[in-house]
Amino acid sequence: MRFRRIGFVLGACVVTLIWGRAAYAVRSGASLPTLLTRSAYRVKTSQEFKNGTAVTFRPSRPDQTFRLGDIEFPPAAQQGPRLWYIGYLALDVDVFRLPAGGSIYISANTDRATFDMVKIIRESAAAERPRVHWSTFDLVRGHRDKVAAGKTFRLRTENYLPYAGVQPGRTPATLHVEQFGGAKLRAVTVRGGIARSSRSPYAISLRVRYLGENAVVGKPFTAQVHVAPKAENDVLRRVAVSAQYPHGALSLRVGSPLRQVGTLRRDRMLTYEFVAHTPGKIPIDFVVTSTINGPVGRTVVTVSPAHTAWLSDRRHQTGLLVLLLGGLFVAGGATIARQRARGDAPRAISQA
């Protein structure tokens, strides 16, 4: 009897657990297509379109815009530099017709500023059994290019909103469907929202510092280039820095313009020693490449001609100033002494 009672309690627990898990799965699946890289992007808050309800749109015209809902941005909202807004969508796409040369574009906007674009075409016009091919590009996952298993397929997209897409207050979010060349979308079901993240779309910081006072024709000058991951604990791979400059105007004293950094965990400094060959304003660009975004830093160096080089040196300027002051002092002293000497001499008095 006791064993039967224990068995009943255990069974009830198992049933409850299974039901609860299933209920949770249904609820979470229906409410929010989680940002795929949610933890990596340190999402702080998110607002869902239509409270997370999936909405199906069936375009009846080749070019049609649908309302996804409103986003309530905070009063002082702006895109970056501390907090960044990322739009995310889960799309269930159902293609009705896709002839060769036809194409379908699905794009999403906040305040008419596009943050997401999916292009759908036939994989190959010549193929016997053509398949649906979709592609997209964003700052979270870069370029993606896939062939769908059938005419219906599911995809997720995430992208940083453009600067103009983040405005304080209520902002409409829309979905835009465009169909060309006889292509026809039967329906698209959308869930999604806007998340707020502390992670910048620009993953690498770049600082350039020139040492010394002035660049002079024929004399070396040094640039210190600092690269670092912007977010803590980020590890960036295949990082390289390349210096680009007009080759007739400058040359590197040592090494190559391309420096391989490899894996970047914290601030790294690279030193470039240049020699200028011509005077004037010379642009030097430092371009960082990596497996994530790479910034470009444009600097302009003013190079003085060699004959003015002596004067452009601060030590020489100070020396010259001391010399001038000394000269003035000596000349002043001599004048005063001469005037005193004149005062002692009898003055010529003109008498009319």
């Binding site: 075409i121 590009f137 964003d138 453009p162 975004n293």
Partner: protein, 237 residues
């Protein structure tokens, strides 16, 4: 062989060589050399592109002011993609490829995750208002974006999804209309016309809004370069 016959044969040989050289020149090949002050890179956010397109794409040695075709002068932005823009303009620029137009090449960089390449080459033969214009000018536009095949748009937080383009006019191209005086160029007129067409099609644009620092004017044989250095921005909604 008498002297006049020999002279005639030599003359014929030289004429053949000259004709061969002229015909072997790629379509749209230009004697234009970009001035130092008009040749450079345009930077926006972490993206960058050369402000002229080039005749070749095989190596870095192609990136040279002596290899340029025409200056970049149009920016399609917000929701732009190369094939989409071509579709939107198809009523006014219905021709492309084949005998109508040949490839030129742009050098661009669009920073994004998993994009390990630095600069990409992109080629386009473009779209054209008339295929073989005889005695009148055709408007020819080539559109470019960084990336591989099927990567036909770029993105940054300022211009959103965008592509860039060069545009010029062509008349009596030797491949189509031999014997008639050939003329290429007038880029500023072609740019202004693209702006007007964009407006007629119901889209928004601003003429000469972006400085891309590629102003250059001059006649180089049959190439009449006219460009004020500012690009027109055309919004795609």
């Amino acid at each position: 062989m008498s002297f006049p016959t020999k002279a005639a044969l030599i003359g014929l040989f030289v004429a053949c060589l000259a004709t061969g050289a002229a015909l072997s020149k790629p379509r749209g090949a230009s004697a234009v050399t970009a001035n130092a002050g008009a040749y450079g890179i345009v930077y926006i956010a972490e993206d960058a592109f050369r402000n002229w397109d080039f005749h070749c794409e095989s190596s870095l040695s192609c990136v040279d002011p002596t290899n340029v075709d025409w200056p970049m002068s149009l920016l399609f932005w917000n929701n732009a993609e190369i094939d989409k823009v071509k579709n939107l303009l198809s009523s006014n620029y219905p021709f492309k490829g084949g005998i109508c137009a040949s490839d030129q090449h742009a050098r661009l960089k669009d920073s994004g995750p998993n994009d390990t390449a630095y600069y990409h080459w992109d080629k386009d033969d473009g779209i054209k208002s008339i295929c073989c214009p005889e005695g009148e000018y055709a408007n020819h536009m080539r559109l470019y974006a960084a990336g591989d095949l099927n990567h036909n748009q770029m993105y940054n937080l300022y211009w959103r999804y965008y592509v860039i383009a060069s545009t010029h006019k062509d008349m009596n191209e030797p491949e189509c209309t031999a014997g008639l005086p050939t003329s290429y160029g007038y880029n500023e007129d072609a740019e202004y016309l693209a702006y007007l067409i964009w407006g007629w099609l119901g889209h928004y644009g601003v003429y000469d809004q972006q400085s891309w620092a590629n102003a250059q004017n001059g006649d180089y044989g049959v190439h009449h370069l006219r460009n004020d250095g500012s690009a027109t921005t055309l919004e795609v909604q």
